[in-house]
């Protein structure tokens, strides 16, 4: 289990617990469940890379305690 922090810098900061073999899509759903936004509207970014839904967290080398940027589209 890893814990990831997502911050949209507009007042929403969420810490989500997930498995490293979850996909980004799963993570988005979890975030959506926690924040109340629709998961389709969420964009996860780290600097300029936009994370794609079908790829696993471990493949993006997202580790425990990492910060992701949360955007909406």
């Amino acid at each position: 289990m890893i814990e990831i922090t997502c911050n949209d810098r507009l007042g929403k900061k969420v810490r989500v617990k997930c498995n490293p073999d979850d996909t980004i899509g799963d993570l988005k759903k979890l975030i959506a469940a926690q924040t109340g936004t629709r998961w389709e509207k969420i964009v996860l970014k780290k600097w300029y890379t936009i994370y794609k839904d079908h790829i696993k967290l471990e493949d993006y080398e997202i580790h425990d305690g990492m910060n992701l940027e949360l955007y909406y589209q």
Binding site: G11, V16, K17, N19, D22, L30, A33, Q34
Partner: protein, 694 residues
Amino acid sequence: MSARKGNHSNLGNVERPIANSTNDTSISIEETNRIRAELGLKPLEVEGQNSNNVEASSDKKDVHVPAENLREKKATEELRRKLDERREKRQIEQRLAQVRTLAYATADDDNAVSWVEKSRRIQKEKEEAKKRAKMLEEMDEAFGVGDIVSTELIKQKAKAYTSRDLRGLKVEHDREMIAEGKEVVLTLKDQSILQEEGDVLVNVNLVDVERYKKNNEIKKQRPGYQPYEEEEVNELGLPKPKLLLAKYDTEIDGEKHDSFVLGKIGDEEAKIKSQKLMKEKLQLQQKKIESLVSRPLQIASEYYTAEEMVSFKKVKRRVKKVRSKGDRILKADDLIQETQEEITSSDLGSRSRKKKMVEEATEDLSGFKITVDESLKEIRQALLKANKLKERKVEQWDINTITRSIKREPFEETEGTEEDPLKSSITLNATAEFCRTLGDIPTYGMAGNRDEDEDELMDFERQLAEERRRNQEKEERKREAERLQERGGWNVLERENEQGSDDSMDIDHNEKDNATVILDEEPDVGSGMAAALKLAMSKGYLEKEEKKRIVISKSAQELQAQRYTIEDKATEDDKYSRRNRFDGPVVEFKDKEGYKPLPKLEYIDDNGKAMSTKEAFRHLSHKFHGKGSGKLKSEKRAKKDEDKMLMNRMSSTDTPLNTLKKLQDKQKELQSPYVVLSGKMAPTSIVKPGKGKK
């Protein structure tokens, strides 16, 4: 800030844990698991919760592998090596321990008894071996095996491959490559199976040498095109024949190898001997004996010796070739002519004919000369003319002509004219036809206008020129004397005329004709316009253009005709014209006798006005220099021109505004002798009409 509840999320009525404290919201593991279950995801893998999960996670964990310690590794290797060495040593020592040393052996032989025993044993063994061999031999003899073996041996010896068997085999090397008294191993050359030629022997080393040589030669080769190549010489000193594109020969014919056949020694030697002989011969040939002693010096003489005179070539004079009837080769045509002659002149004596012949010969001599180096064309032409002559001769066998020709030699002019027109034949060749179409020589080819037979055989150009001249003369005569004895022209009318006159023609008449040429009787002016014109022409009042040509006297003409060429004519004409140019016309220009030229140059400008000298000069100057006057200047000039024009247009009786005319018009209109001028004075003032205006 408080976290909000996602009331509109798809999770519906799920209770959200409200994360407080910092901006951070997080939910517990259980809560997450619940959400995950709803989403259809597997639960979170929490350590310590599930043993399987732990193992799986530990598998995934990175394992730190410590870096290899090189020193340790080296140390272990060293150790291992040492151990191996020790082991090997031990093994060798073990092996050596089993071997008896020398000292040990001697110690063994020291014992005399044992030594004797040993030697005895050896002796015994030897004897036994001998015995066994003897026994075997005896057995062989008993069975007769020995004979068979011996015969076999002999046979095998006979079968052995000797030099005899090599005879006829081909060796693919130059004979000189294989040195005498040296051993060379020859092997069979690789050949394709289907090749039916016999075996070929080669030596591998020699093949290599040959290949090396060939490569060397290829390296030395120059580019294909060698324009200044020297001729190659083979070993005998003979020049090699140069083949066309010899460099491709090997590719076309395949490579050529020197080869010789074994066993044909005599043949080879003979060949070599012959080659040597050839070489010697050639060397002998090439040697030339040249004496170094020069000829004794001599004083050069100014005169030719008798021997030199022989070799001295005189300037070859142009040989006049006598061309008479006798000279010619007799042909079938000639024979026909002969018979005709006999037929036509059956009543003639042989004497006269002889005379004629003589005459002909002389004529021919004077008439023409044929140089040795005449071209073929000229010869052909001469033949053609001779042919014509022959025909003429037939015509001339008329009593009249003969008698006349005997009597009147000087009058050559009229001689030809006397032939019978019926018998005359016209020979039309290409040139004649051409000239006829030119229109210049209407009577070419007819016997009548040719006075001398010799002339016919002259060069073509000369003949043509002369003919032209003669025609001119004739025309003149025709003009002067109406009755010119021209016959045989193309014109039918003339022909009729000529026929009529022909019958009455005789010598006296001819003479008279000649006389009339000089002293013509004056035509009657009263008879008509034609006669008057004729008279005028004869007197020289009226002239035809052709008469202006200079009439050359007959002798001069003859002289000219001798060496007449087209080029000469051209230059003469040129000279003539040039003289004319400078001297002006010879004859006065009568048409405009009172003419005096009035030189006046008028220039007209673009508007069609005549320009003054000044203007004309300016105009020409502008044209010459290629630029006109400037804008201001041209405007000024235009204005000036306009003023001038207006000035010209202005009447002298009226003002420029035509006041007078207007006044008169007004009076006419009002039918009154006065005009009322409007102004301050108004109606009271009356102007008298005579005064016009105020």
